[in-house]
Symmetry: none
DNA sequence: GGCTAATCGAGACGGTACGTCAAGTCTTGCT
DNA sequence: AGCAAGACTTGACGTACCGTCTCGATTAGCC
């Protein structure tokens, strides 16, 4: 999927924007994130590496945070959910994938930073939701649906309850992995992932019983 | 509990540092966090509000992040775990407390920011662990011990396994609440807390079965 | 004559430097010198009065001293040497002009200060020589040449000797006036100027006799 | 001759001031002037080298400039005027001595600086006059008196005129040497000194004729 | 093929905050 | 009282980025 800079009201005339510049900028942004981290990333530095003028950045993104969100969002689309035959196996697979993604320096440093900024910046929060969060809920939906098809989970009764549980699982899985990796700063290894998936699979029955 | 600025090798002579200044600075820091958030907090502003010179800040804290950690850490000590008679009730109580803490503007904006910075700053990471993370694990330990006394959970067999489970629960609870509140930006209300605690209590048996 | 900020290798691209800013800065510098003197002149204050950012100053001048030299140098170009008919009259005229210049607060406070700094700062010394000292030697040369034309002084024999005498006269006149005005802090009035010019005119014969 | 710090109203009680400290401070001041020059001399540095607290400095001198004047003034007392048999020889001797003094790094950097400051600081100007300028006029007086005794100069007629001429000679000699050494930054060598003394001796007759 | 209009690189611009440094004062306990 | 030590307030320093602006020079599409 393509990250899309600030949309603009389709000018019919004048020189069109360079598509190469777009990608060069996002690539340069990821490079700088890797080397310097979010807080030392500067627009001038990104522009320089991309071989582009600062003006060209600001014509596309309103500020550093929006640029970083776009640069990082595309990485999350690599996550996928192959059918491994059981709910627990599916969970363990995606958790390990997600942990590997969080280990990448460009994600590690950028994700928490933009979320922190988003607590005070509503447009940024929306951009994060649209570009990253909502887009990845598909993993939970697919996993749950597949488990129902296998008979591991009961079929839906109350759609509201199902949505609530999907959201819960999403927050628990994403939150736990992030917390383990970035706050506790402990490895997300097989042993830990085993325990987490056991907790989830074991607990889902109790949650379903709530109705 | 007292937040402690940069320790120093006990000078016997000279004018001692002002203890009032210490507290005035931390208080001013929390004020600015509330009003402006982390990214717009400036050392000069904090100094001004505390009625103190900028150099006095830098004599005690090496940078903005260490100052903010100390200013915020003390808030986490308000969390407590009264005995409500059941594991699930205890969990729900502390989760709601934690969610309320995360709703406070000074915590919301600061916590993620310093964690983000800590991905590139080892001393900062250590300070966060020591001042905030490790200190709150007591809640998990107490809750588990109490549940064992009540017979809700089996007595310890393998101490390694017990530690691993404690850590898991801590990451899951803290991570889920943070993700819900700050990333998903949805309310941590009674319904959600019910579901989360049901998931945990229901899953703990399965985790224990892993040995 | 124009005072010229730091020369630079003629960039063909980019926004050109504002010529208005140049003059506004030098003017503001002279203002601040008058009001506050050299030691209380700050770059921030100058920038503020010139309606310019501090960075704009530093882009043009490396430090306060170079700026002050440029701001003051232009004032010395007002000195001139009208032909008053005799060597002594010419000397008295230019000495009074120079004394009047030294009485101006912007010169009085700045000149000695930058010379003092120049004892430790070779580039500054060169700038002073080029912008101020060498430029004013013309007064001595013109005066001497004119006196020779009038027959008050013998024609040149040894050019080396002539140069040495020109230099001597320059140091004596400039040094004596500065010392009288700034160190002795006594007025450079007609009586004193009479005496000085009598000393010079009377002594020049003896110096010429040295060969 | 001793440089004398701020006089004070003879305290009858309490610990008396350390006399050793006085000299250590002035000595340290000269050291720092040699190594760092006036503009980089700091009170803290001087105090440190003198093995003294900053408070002790400020108890004796009101500020940096007064301290520097006192530290440097004593050096000027080394100048003396041995009888060399002729006015011109006497002049050349003292000029060379003075030039040697101005070559010393502590004098070179400090003298112009404090004079510059004194244009805005009346008490400082008075201190300079009292400690340095007036004290050295003795050289002119002695030289003139001796030349009169030898018959090189006519005996006094009008005492006012004599004073004016003494002052003129003082400003011319001191000013010319300072200007040559610090502004023109050319050596004060025998050839130059010859020329200067010839100018003075040759010109004095013309000045005397003014009455 | 010239016109129009938005793009491009470059770099100067007004700002804001940084973290440091020195000046001169104040506070403590010791002599 | 004087003194050493060192914390204190104040205020300027010179630097680094921010996001905007002005240049002259390219590109396109449209007439």
């Amino acid at each position: 999927m393509c990250s899309r800079p600030t949309p603009r009201p389709a000018p019919r005339t004048g020189r069109p924007r360079s598509a190469e510049a777009d990608e060069a900028i996002l690539e340069a942004t990821r490079e700088v994130l890797v080397e310097l981290g979010w807080s030392k990333l500067t627009m001038g530095d990104v522009a320089g590496r991309a071989g582009v003028a600062k003006t060209t950045l600001y014509r596309r993104w309103a500020n550093k945070n929006e640029l970083v969100v776009d640069a990082v969002a595309v990485l999350f689309d690599e996550l996928e959910l192959p059918d491994l035959g059981s709910l627990q196996a599916d969970i363990e697979h995606v958790v390990l994938q997600f942990a590997a993604l969080l280990e990448r320096p460009e994600t590690k440093t950028a994700l928490m930073a933009v979320v922190a900024e988003s607590t005070r910046d509503v447009p940024l929060r929306e951009r994060i939701r649209a570009s990253i969060v909502e887009r990845q809920k598909r993993l939970v939906l697919d996993g749950r649906r597949r488990a129902q098809e296998r008979g591991e989970l009961p079929a839906d009764r109350d759609p509201v309850s199902v949505d609530a549980t999907d959201d819960l699982i999403f927050d628990v899985v994403a939150g736990a992995v992030v917390h383990r990796a970035l706050v506790s700063a402990e490895p997300v290894d097989t042993a830990w992932v085993n325990r987490l998936s056991a907790l989830l699979v074991g607990g889902l029955g109790a949650v379903a019983a709530l109705g």
